[in-house]
């Protein structure tokens, strides 16, 4: 049996050290090698290519990006590594996992329990619906695939999202990212942060700096929204204009 390549993700250094020790202890039974360590979800994704793990052992509660969101991004990979959660106590997540037969480890982790989890880990990935339900407030990052790599885009950096034929484009100050998501789902997940301007455009509320009349002869849209930091003009559909206008009024008062 080839060695399992393992990536350990936990924000507490002693907890990472402990898992490493245990993995060493069970190496005779389940051959494994720790190919990377990360202290949160963002760092884990950054070292993914290098660590090339078969299994990610991840804590749930971590700064920057928690384990639940990490697993959601991982799930979008073509051949995702398995994710096994290890948590000290997270009543809410534990209940959801129990209900949906998702395997997880309780810290302090026991060697036998860890070996058992790794034994079947190759087959497992927590179902994305369960993970999504555990994050009612939405993800902190969106992810996209570029040349075989998983790139993270912080939601707070996104100025607007625009749907084209098949893809959704996320525009940050620096550049555009192609996402494999639907605009409708994004609108639902981030309704607090983004407002719909047009059938195909969501803009970050705080990125709107003004509106101007559309001088083109296009009768469809009379108004264009100006966006902070970039020169793009976004069309406001006639249908959305009243809502957008009332939001802008609220702001100016």
């Amino acid at each position: 049996m080839p060695e399992l390549r393992i990536l350990i993700v936990d924000d507490e250094a002693p907890a990472r050290a402990r898992l490493r020790e245990l993995l060493g202890d069970i190496a005779g039974e389940v051959p494994n090698v720790v190919t990377g360590e990360a202290e949160n979800g963002v760092a884990a994704i950054a070292c993914l290519a290098e660590a090339a793990p078969d299994v990610i052992l991840s804590d749930i509660r971590m700064p920057k990006m928690d384990g639940i969101e990490l697993a959601r991004h991982i799930a979008t990979l073509p051949n995702p590594p398995a994710v096994v959660f290890a948590t000290a106590y997270d009543a809410y997540a534990m209940q959801a996992f129990d209900l949906n037969a998702v395997d997880y480890l309780l810290k302090p982790v026991r060697a036998a329990r860890l070996a058992a989890a790794l034994g079947k880990a190759r087959l497992l990935h927590p179902p994305t619906e369960v993970l999504a339900a555990l994050q009612p407030e939405g993800r902190s990052h969106l992810s996209c695939h570029e040349r075989g790599r998983l790139l993270l885009v912080p939601v707070s950096d996104i100025l607007y999202l625009k749907a084209d034929l098949k893809y959704v484009t996320a525009r940050t100050r620096e550049r555009e990212f192609l996402l494999d998501e639907s605009l409708t789902h994004l609108e639902e997940e981030f309704s607090v942060r983004f407002i719909r301007l047009h059938r195909s455009v969501l803009v970050a509320r705080e990125a709107i700096v003004g509106f101007e009349r559309n001088t083109a002869d296009d009768a469809e849209t009379h108004w264009l929204a100006l966006v902070r930091d970039i020169d793009d003009r976004l069309p406001v559909s006639r249908r959305q204009w009243p809502q957008v206008k009332s939001y802008a009024r609220q702001l100016s008062t």
Partner: protein, 315 residues
């Protein structure tokens, strides 16, 4: 006394509504009843006030029977008096009816006072305090145990020390925590707790104590500060990538002790519900210990979350 007068009249009002055929005749019925009820009520009160000392001396259950019996007897006598005056028709059954009604009203009022006394008794307050006494987050216990486990092979001495501290912390949490304790003990407990958190959080947790001119024998409610610190670590340090500093300052102002606790606010790390619950719990315990003499305020300004607790000084 006032509660008794109000209670009996409320009963009379209710009975009047039952007797009345519609809402408009309700007041009229009540006035008719009042002619009956008020003389009886006042004379009963007078009689019971005179017998007060004798009633205190006999056992509670006997006293209850005596009181109900006396009221019933008075009602019967009064009914007989009305008959004698020619206001109503007499007869045994009407006398008995008056006596039974009065007895029931008396029993109801006695039951009400009994319940009220139970609700306000010191035993209930004590039980309430016990229930409210801080419970440490399971999250903290298991993470700490995990951190100690990670030390055993590499640094056995540090692991020993950490386990001893954990044991002491839990001993403090499990003892009877209803009495006030010297503030020096409470501070020692908090230091132990923070040492354990440092074990797993390392450099991410910084603590600044400002304790000047604080008599260690000053008495405070036990486990008031530790849950606040636990909140500060959980919401202000753990979710942050950079190191976070928790500041604890004590100041004595006249006969008041002011404790201020500050921690950084982590953007996006809002778990407000748990925090509000902890604050509500502490506020209630402060009220049980000090009534209105203690205050607890919490708020956020300029990226800092601040909790201020003011207690009266007791030695």
């Amino acid at each position: 006394m006032l509660r008794l007068l109000l209670g009996v009249n409320l009963l009379a009002l209710a009975v009047a509504l039952v007797l009345a055929s519609d809402v408009l005749s309700w007041p009229l019925r009540y006035v008719e009843l009042a002619v009956w009820v008020e003389p009886l009520l006042l004379s009963s009160l007078l009689l019971l006030a005179m017998l007060r000392n004798a009633l205190w001396r006999i056992p509670y259950v006997v006293a209850v029977v005596v009181v109900i019996g006396l009221v019933a007897l008075q009602a019967a006598l009064l009914a007989d008096f009305w008959r004698f005056m020619g206001f109503v028709d007499g007869g045994w059954s009407s006398l008995l009816r008056a006596a039974l009604l009065a007895a029931m009203a008396a029993a109801l009022m006695l039951a009400y006072f009994d319940l009220r006394a139970d609700a306000l008794s010191p035993a209930v307050t004590e039980a309430r305090l016990q229930a409210l006494t801080a419970r440490i987050r399971p999250h903290f216990l298991f993470n700490s145990l995990n951190a100690v486990l990670s030390l055993i092979r590499a640094e056995p001495k540090r692991a020993e020390h950490a386990l001893e501290e954990l044991a002491e912390l839990f001993r403090a949490l499990m003892r009877d925590n209803r009495e006030l304790v010297p503030i020096a003990d409470e501070i020692a407990l908090c230091r132990q707790y923070l040492d354990l958190e440092k074990l797993r959080l390392g450099e991410r947790l910084r603590v600044l104590w400002q304790i000047d001119d604080l008599p260690g024998e000053l008495l405070v409610p036990p486990l008031m500060l530790q849950p606040l610190l636990e909140n500060a670590v959980y919401h202000g340090v753990e979710p942050a990538t950079e190191a976070g500093e928790i500041r604890i300052a004590f100041a004595r102002r006249g006969d008041e002790l002011q404790i201020v606790l500050e921690n950084p606010v982590v953007p996006g790390g809002a778990h407000a519900a748990g925090n509000r619950m902890a604050l509500g719990n502490i506020r209630e315990r402060l009220a049980l210990h000090y009534d209105l003499e203690a205050r607890l305020e919490a708020g956020e300004a300029n990226g800092v979350y601040k909790v201020t607790m003011v207690l009266p000084c007791r030695n």
